[in-house]
C-alpha cells in the first residue's frame, strides 16, 4: 500500500505537472528551433510572441464569454485560440516585413538579427502590457478536473490523492496533435519539404527554384501558431502574466539547444528533459521517501533546490550541453 502511495505521489506531484509543462516547453522550443533553422537566428522575441498571442486569445475569450458562448467542459479559450493565432501571425508577418526582411536582404550577421529581435521583444512586451496590463489573469473555465483528488481517493482507498486537471490533459493532447500536424506538414507537403530543404542548404534550395519569401512567411506563421498555442496552454495550466512569459525564454532556449538547435525532434525531447529535471529537482521528496522506504524518517524536505531556482536547473543543463555536446543531443545545425 505504501509503495502504491509513493507511486501516486510521484505521479501527482512530479509526472503529471512535468508532462504538461514539458509539452508547453516543447511547443515553445519548436517555434524557436524552426525560426533558427530557416531564418538562422535565435529569436529573443519568442517569449513575448507567446505573451502577445495569449493576450489576444484572452481578449477573444472574454468577448466569447460575454456573448454567452462556452465550450462545454473545455475552456472557452480553445475556441478563441484560432483567432489569437491569426492575429499573432498577422502581427509577426508585419514585423517580418517591416523589420527582419531588410537584414535578410543585406545578409546581416546573425548577432545583428538577435539584437533586432530584442528590439522587437521590447515592442511586443510593451504592446502586450498596453493591451492587457501587467496583472496576473486566470482565464480558464469549464470542468476543472478530469480526475479529482477526492474522487481518486474514494475510488482507490489510497491515502495519497491523484488530481489531473482538464488543462493538463488538454495540453498533452493538443500538443500531440500540433506536433503530429507539424511533422506531417514538414515531411509530406511541398511547402514543408521546401522548408526543410531551405534549412539544410539555403543556396541549393534557392538554385532549385524555392521561393525564399514564401518559405519565410510560412515559417513565421507556423512559429506564431506554435507560440500562441504554447502560451495559451501555459496560461490555462498556470496563469497569464506578461513577465512570466519573458522568463520562459530561458527554459525554451535551453530545450531547443539541448535537443539541438534547428532539429524539431530535438526540441520536443529537450522540452521534456528540461521540464522533468526542473520539477524533479525542485520537488520536496520527503513524502515519497517516507512511503517508499519503510521506517524512514526524513529530516527536512529532501528538496534539492528551492523552487525559486528552477531556472538554474535549465541553465545548468544548458551549460553542461554546451560544454560537452554543443550541437545538442540530437544533432542540430552547425555550432
Amino acid at each position: 500500500m505504501d509503495f502504491l502511495n509513493a507511486i501516486v505521489a510521484i505521479l501527482n506531484y512530479v509526472f503529471v505537472p512535468a508532462t504538461a509543462y514539458g509539452a508547453q516547453l516543447a511547443l515553445g522550443a519548436l517555434g524557436v528551433t524552426l525560426i533558427y533553422g530557416i531564418l538562422r537566428f535565435s529569436n529573443f522575441a519568442h517569449g513575448d510572441t507567446m505573451a502577445f498571442g495569449t493576450a489576444m486569445t484572452i481578449l477573444v475569450t472574454w468577448g466569447l464569454q460575454k456573448l454567452g458562448l462556452h465550450f462545454g467542459p473545455l475552456p472557452t479559450a480553445l475556441i478563441a485560440l484560432p483567432f489569437g493565432i491569426a492575429i499573432t501571425a498577422a502581427f509577426v508577418l508585419a514585423t517580418d516585413r517591416a523589420v527582419y526582411a531588410y537584414y535578410r536582404k543585406v545578409r546581416a550577421a546573425p548577432v545583428i538579427l538577435v539584437m533586432v529581435s530584442v528590439g522587437v521583444m521590447f515592442v511586443m512586451n510593451g504592446v502586450t502590457r498596453f493591451v492587457i496590463g501587467v496583472d496576473e489573469i486566470q482565464f480558464t473555465d469549464g470542468a476543472r478536473f478530469v480526475i479529482s483528488a477526492k474522487g481518486f481517493r474514494e475510488a482507490t482507498g489510497l491515502a495519497e490523492p491523484l488530481a489531473i486537471r482538464t488543462t493538463q490533459v488538454l495540453t498533452v493532447v493538443l500538443a500531440g496533435l500540433v506536433v503530429w500536424a507539424l511533422f506531417w506538414f514538414l515531411n509530406k507537403t511541398r511547402t514543408g519539404k521546401s522548408m526543410r530543404a531551405f534549412s539544410d542548404n539555403e543556396d541549393l534550395a534557392l538554385l532549385s527554384g524555392i521561393n525564399p519569401n514564401h518559405v519565410v512567411a510560412v515559417t513565421w506563421i507556423i512559429a506564431a501558431a506554435l507560440a500562441t498555442t504554447a502560451g495559451v496552454l501555459y496560461g490555462l495550466d498556470k496563469s497569464f502574466k506578461a513577465f512570466n512569459y519573458f522568463q520562459l525564454l530561458l527554459p525554451i532556449f535551453a530545450s531547443a539547444i539541448v535537443g539541438g538547435l534547428g532539429n524539431p525532434l530535438g526540441a520536443i525531447a529537450g522540452g521534456f528533459i528540461i521540464a522533468y529535471s526542473e520539477v524533479a529537482v525542485t520537488y520536496a521528496w520527503k513524502k515519497v521517501a517516507t512511503y517508499a522506504i519503510p521506517g524512514f524518517e526524513a529530516e527536512g524536505l529532501m528538496q534539492l533546490l528551492s523552487t525559486e531556482y528552477k531556472f538554474a536547473v535549465s541553465f545548468a543543463i544548458l551549460i553542461i550541453v554546451l560544454l560537452f555536446k554543443p550541437t545538442g543531443l540530437f544533432k542540430g545545425k552547425a555550432v
Partner: protein, 443 residues
C-alpha cells in the same frame, strides 16, 4: 557592423562636442525648470549609466559580443558594497558564517575535482566518477550549508539575519564589485565563447536571471527581498542631516541665500557627481588609450573578420574572453557605484528590461564602438527614460482629452506607462535599421 559603407558623419570634429553641449543644456534646463535636486539626480544616474554603457560597448563595440545578462553583472557588482562596507553582524560568523564559507569551499572543491577528473579519466569511468563526485559534493555541501544558514538567519531576523559586511570604506567596494562581476564573466565566457555567437547571448541571459534570483533568495547573503538599508556612503560624501546640523554649513548657506535643506541635498548630489565624473574620466581615458593601441586595432580586426584575424595567428576565443571579462568588470563597478548612490540593496528592483536592454539602447543609440558615444548615449537615454515617465501620461492625457470619460479612456491613461517600453524598442529597431552607427559613429 552593417554592410553600409561608412560615410563621414555630419558635423565632422564638432559633432561630438555639439551633442555633449546639447546634453549639458538639457540638464541645465531641467535644473532651472524643476529644481537642481532632480536635475542632479538624473545626471548622477546618467553618469552611472554612461559607465554601464562603456562596459557594454567594450563587449559589443570592440568585440561584437552580445551580453544579455547585464542585469546580473550589475546586481553582482551591487553585492560588493553590502559585503564590504556594511558593519559585520555581531555573532554571525561564530554562529554559522565560517561554516557557510566552508560549505562554499566544498562546493568549489567538488567542481574543481570534477573538472580534473573529467580531464583524467576515460569512457565509462569518467561519467561515473564525475557524477559520483558531483552528487557526493552536493550532499556534503548541503549538510554543512543548511544548518549554518539557519543559524545566521536566526540572528535578529527583523533587522539583520545576514552575515553583514566587513565594515571597510565604501570606496573599497567599487573595485571589489568589478572583481565579482569579472569572476562570473570568466566562468560564463569560458563555457559559451568559441561557440556560435547566439550561445553567449543565451548563456548570459541565464546567468543574469540566476544571479538576481540568488540575491533575492539567499537571505544570509544580503537579506534577500528584505533589502539591506543604510549602506554607508563613499568618502567624501556627507549625510544631509549632518550638514543641516552643522552650524558652519547653515551659516554658509545663509550667506549664499539658500535654504539649508535644499543646499545640503544639492551639495551631497554634487559630491556624488564629482566622484562619478572622476571614475568615468579615468575609465574613458583608459578605454580610449586601449582602443587606439595595437591591442584595440587587433580587437577591431577580430570583430570585423574573425576568420582572417584567426588566420593572422590571433587567438580569437582568448581575446573574446579577455574583453568579455574586462567589460563585465566595468559593469560590475558601475553596479557597485549605483548601490552606494542609492544607499540600499533591493534585489527585486533588478529588472532585465530596465537594466539589460535599456543599457543596450544606450550603446546602440550613442554609437557602438565609440566610447564617447556610449557616454553620450548613457546620459541622454537615461534622461529620456526619466522624462518619458512624465511625458507619457501627459501626452496620453492630451490625446484622450476629447474622449468621453469611460473604460477606454481610463485604460489608455493607465497604460501610458508601458509606452516607454514600446518607444525604447522602436528606438532600438529604428537606429539599428537607419543609423546603425549611432549618434557618434566610430572613428
Amino acid at each position: 557592423m552593417s554592410q553600409h559603407q561608412p560615410t563621414a558623419a555630419k558635423g565632422g570634429a564638432l559633432r561630438a562636442p555639439l551633442f555633449f553641449l546639447i546634453m549639458a543644456g538639457l540638464i541645465v534646463l531641467e535644473g532651472m525648470t524643476s529644481g537642481w535636486n532632480g536635475a542632479l539626480g538624473i545626471l548622477n544616474m546618467g553618469l552611472i549609466s554612461a559607465i554601464l554603457a562603456l562596459g557594454v560597448n567594450m563587449q559589443w563595440g570592440y568585440a561584437g559580443l552580445f551580453n544579455t545578462g547585464v542585469v546580473g553583472f550589475i546586481a553582482l557588482g551591487g553585492l560588493a558594497p553590502v559585503l564590504i562596507s556594511m558593519p559585520p553582524t555581531p555573532g554571525a560568523f561564530s554562529a554559522g558564517g565560517w561554516q557557510i564559507l566552508i560549505a562554499l569551499l566544498i562546493a568549489v572543491a567538488s567542481l574543481v575535482l570534477t573538472i580534473w577528473l573529467n580531464g583524467r579519466l576515460k569512457g565509462k569511468a569518467r561519467a561515473l566518477g564525475v557524477i559520483a563526485v558531483l552528487v557526493a559534493g552536493f550532499f556534503l555541501y548541503r549538510a554543512v550549508f543548511d544548518p549554518a544558514v539557519e543559524a545566521v538567519q536566526a540572528i535578529n531576523p527583523s533587522a539583520l539575519g545576514y552575515l553583514g559586511g566587513l565594515g571597510l570604506p565604501t570606496l573599497f567596494a567599487w573595485p571589489v564589485g568589478a572583481l565579482l562581476a569579472a569572476g562570473a564573466a570568466w566562468v560564463i565566457g569560458k563555457t559559451a565563447l568559441g561557440l556560435r555567437s547566439d550561445y553567449l547571448a543565451i548563456a548570459t541571459l541565464g546567468i543574469g536571471e540566476i544571479i538576481v534570483s540568488v540575491l533575492r533568495n539567499e537571505e544570509w547573503l544580503a537579506r534577500g527581498v528584505l533589502n539591506v538599508n543604510g549602506i554607508p556612503r563613499p568618502w567624501p560624501v556627507p549625510y544631509e542631516i549632518a550638514l543641516q546640523e552643522s552650524p558652519a554649513f547653515v551659516e554658509r548657506m545663509a550667506a549664499l541665500g539658500v535654504d539649508p535643506v535644499t543646499g545640503s541635498t544639492v551639495l551631497v548630489k554634487l559630491l556624488y557627481t564629482g566622484l562619478f565624473v572622476i571614475v568615468l574620466a579615468l575609465l574613458l581615458i583608459a578605454a580610449q588609450l586601449a582602443l587606439n593601441s595595437p591591442w584595440g586595432r587587433m580587437m577591431r580586426a577580430i570583430r570585423d573578420n574573425e576568420i582572417s584575424a584567426a588566420a593572422m595567428g590571433k587567438n580569437v576565443t582568448r581575446r573574446h574572453l579577455q574583453i568579455f571579462v574586462i567589460g563585465s568588470a566595468v559593469i560590475g563597478l558601475a553596479g557597485a557605484m549605483m548601490i552606494s548612490l542609492d544607499g540600499q540593496m533591493t534585489p527585486s528592483s533588478y529588472n532585465p528590461l530596465r537594466y539589460t536592454f535599456l543599457i543596450w539602447v544606450m550603446v546602440i543609440v550613442g554609437g557602438s564602438g565609440n566610447n564617447w558615444g556610449s557616454v553620450l548615449g548613457g546620459v541622454l537615454i537615461w534622461y529620456l527614460w526619466i522624462k518619458a515617465e512624465v511625458w507619457g501620461p501627459n501626452l496620453m492625457g492630451m490625446i484622450t482629452d476629447q474622449l468621453s470619460d469611460g473604460a477606454v479612456k481610463r485604460h489608455l491613461v493607465d497604460s501610458a506607462a508601458h509606452m516607454r517600453l514600446i518607444v525604447m524598442g522602436l528606438v532600438l529597431i529604428l537606429v539599428l535599421r537607419f543609423s546603425p552607427r549611432g549618434l557618434l559613429p566610430e572613428r
